[in-house]
Amino acid sequence: MKALILVGGYGTRLRPLTLSVPKPLVDFCNKPILLHQVEALVKAGVDHVILAVSYMSDLLEIEMRVQEERLGIRISLSHEKEPLGTAGPLALARELLKVDNEPFFVLNSDVICDFPFKDLLQFHHNHGKEGTIVVTRVEEPSKYGVVVFEADSGRIHRFVEKPQVFVSNKINAGIYIFNPSMLSRIQLRPTSIEKEIFPVMAEEGQLYTMELQGFWMDIGQPKDFLTGMCMYLQSLRQHAPERLRTGPGFLGNVLVDPTAQIGENCTVGPNVTIGAGVVVEDGVRIKRCTVMKGARVRSHSWLESCIVGWSSSVGQWVRMENVTVLGEDVIVNDELYLNGANVLPHKSINESVPEPRIIM
């Protein structure tokens, strides 16, 4: 089976992290985002993954070769030279997707959840129509595209983009499965799948929804990245609790790479991810944070709701909070206070940032 992952462009919403590394390769809970998705697809029988990119990255190509080897599958790149919207990339990859006439998966690269690819395939076979969209329930639907559908069959009535009044609390989760016949609906030009393709398919009774069980998050920006991390760690606790770190000094769900070192008298968690080779010195308090590979957090510091970028160094007695994001190789000097600071790579910070701002 095949899958198309809509990777897109520069990943600007996840800067400064995406200034160092293409978005699919940003580590989410100690594994590149892309890999969470690809591994789940492989488990459901996918042997060919096509990445639809609008920005070519050497790093991405190298990583693709590595994963092809490792997972024993084929990974292709479909490169759009001009913007094709959310449906156009499917037309671009038409030749790859049409082969052997099987349904294919499509997903947004920013989405994290308990990927239900096997169930989705089954559900899709059962109703036998052209397409199935996964929907998920959210608290604030008007931030997204809302789907109105028949509860028992899943047959879609209509879509409403960012509704002003409450219509439904189910939104498009960015995960689909289509029959190849659907490709003839899309021309090779900038096309919006939500606005131009889906409504027609829904009208013809060819589009159904499957409701997602469990957590879902679009981790395309730092605030949501951290929220998604909390959800994922909670899901780990339910399905694979042995992967979480417990013991004195660890509270709640904490994921620690085996090569990381944690000092004495620290309190880590809840909801913390510590990457490979990270050093956390004595007396540190971390909660609701991601610390990327090779970073160092020096003694007696206090971090809440932060992302510490690869190889960064946080000084002693530093306080960081409120979605402070450090890019790659940032140095924060001792005794500073960072509140909502967004720090670009290779920067040295020697002044406190008491109110949220971007540090270039």
Partner: protein
């Protein structure tokens, strides 16, 4: 023989020192580990022939003051008495009212010092200067140099550069007059009382022309600066001795930290025993202190303070009985008596230090609010305040006996 008079003010004065002045009269607030007044008394006691120190103010007799006087007399072996004004009589009215006490024993001269200044107190030098300049019995004002802009916040002195006579004096002018400012430390002779007496008579006469209510108080309220110095300038009686040694006003809590630093620097030569050996600037550290702490520069720690593991304190004063729990960080703050700071908490203020690149810059006496917002300054925790773990208290003032339950920034917490 010589005497010294220290003007200590009263509760209506020094309100910028709240909430710390709720617990202790401002002149007794610890600066560099000892009560503010002690630095004055020490300097006076060192002058040869100093026979008596008189404190003049309008504080009601209170336990702290009485205890302080008792201890000071024991330590410095000199007579120290408190003369309480019946009302606020001004910088001149108080000494005039008690002139008999001051001149009893016929001192040749007497110093007058304001309590709320921090200084190296070059008193012996002022004495030598007085003998060498002007007629016998000239009056000397200690002066120092300020930058042009800040000089207008002080008493400004225009001097004759050769004779050092004061040609002109004006208190807090609104336009630039001189960059030599009045340090609030004077050397007078009993002649001064003639001049003050003249002003008093004049006030009384003016009083008769107006309604007789409150007349008695107002006639006696005399300000040395506006009423005496201004009149005496250019009459061959008033001289200025300029000093390059350190000097600062102590009007607000923020300036207390700056003054602390000035005195602590002086301790290297005058009182090295007051400095902690392996940490900078901390007298009398008692209670438990773990090895992973970093204390200093410019830190004063009171008695009975408990400091946990991994604590960082910089540019701050920790008053008696306070507790700082593990990993907390205290920067540019004053932590009140018996307060508690929780684990990993951050208590931080903004220093209002003068520009270090300008040798004549003085500490700013900023207003509390500017454009409707609290001016960022030293964080002050009043006595018995509890700060919970893991919060940040930034640029805030917390009144005594308050238990906080969250972070605060740029606020006064009642």
């Amino acid at each position: 023989m010589l005497k010294a008079v220290i003007l200590i003010g009263g509760p209506q004065k020094g309100t910028r020192f709240r909430p710390l002045s709720f617990e202790v009269p401002k002149p007794l607030f610890p600066v560099a580990g000892v009560p503010m007044l002690q630095h004055h008394i020490e300097a006076c006691a060192k002058v040869p022939n100093m026979k008596e120190i008189l404190l003049i103010g309008f504080y009601q007799p209170n336990e702290e003051l009485t205890r302080f006087l008792f201890n000071a007399q024991q330590e410095f072996k000199i007579s120290i008495r408190y003369l309480q004004e019946y009302a606020a009589l001004g910088t001149g009215g108080g000494i005039y009212h008690f002139r008999d006490q001051i001149v009893s024993g016929s001192p040749e001269a007497f110093f007058v010092l304001n309590a709320d200044v921090c200084s190296a107190f070059p008193l012996a030098e002022m004495l030598s200067f007085q003998k060498e300049h002007g007629e016998p019995n000239s009056l000397v004002i200690l002066g120092t140099t300020a930058n042009r802009k800040q000089s207008m916040n002080y008493g400004c002195i225009v001097e004759n550069e050769e004779t050092h006579e004061v040609l002109h004096y004006v208190e807090k002018p609104s336009t630039f007059v001189s960059d030599i400012i009045n340090c609030g430390i004077y050397l007078f002779t009993p002649d001064i009382f003639q001049h003050i007496g003249a002003v008093f008579q004049k006030n009384q006469q003016d009083m008769l022309l107006e309604e007789p209510t409150n007349g008695w108080h107002r006639a006696e309220a005399i300000r040395l600066e506006q009423d005496i110095f201004t009149a005496l300038a250019a009459q061959g009686k008033l001289y200025v001795y300029k000093t390059l040694s350190f000097w600062s006003q102590i009007k607000s809590a923020g300036s207390a930290i700056y003054a602390s630093r000035l005195y602590l620097n002086q301790y290297h030569t005058t009182h090295p025993e007051r400095l902690a050996s392996n940490k900078e600037g901390g007298p009398k550290i008692s209670g438990k202190i773990y090895l992973n702490c970093v204390l200093g520069p410019n830190v004063s720690i009171g008695t009975g303070v408990t400091i946990g593991a991994g604590v960082r304190v910089r540019e701050s004063v920790i008053l008696h009985g306070a507790t700082l729990q593990d990993h907390c960080c205290v920067l540019n703050s004053i932590v009140g008596w018996d307060s508690t700071i929780g684990k990993w908490a951050r208590v931080e203020g903004t220093p209002s230090d003068p520009n270090p690149n300008d040798p004549f810059a003085k500490i700013d006496s900023e207003t509390l609010f500017r454009e409707g917002k609290l001016t960022p300054s030293i964080t002050i925790l009043g006595c018995n305040v509890t700060i919970p773990s893991e919060v940040i208290i930034l640029n805030s003032i917390v009144l005594p006996h308050k238990d906080l339950n969250r972070s605060f920034k740029n606020q006064i917490i009642l």
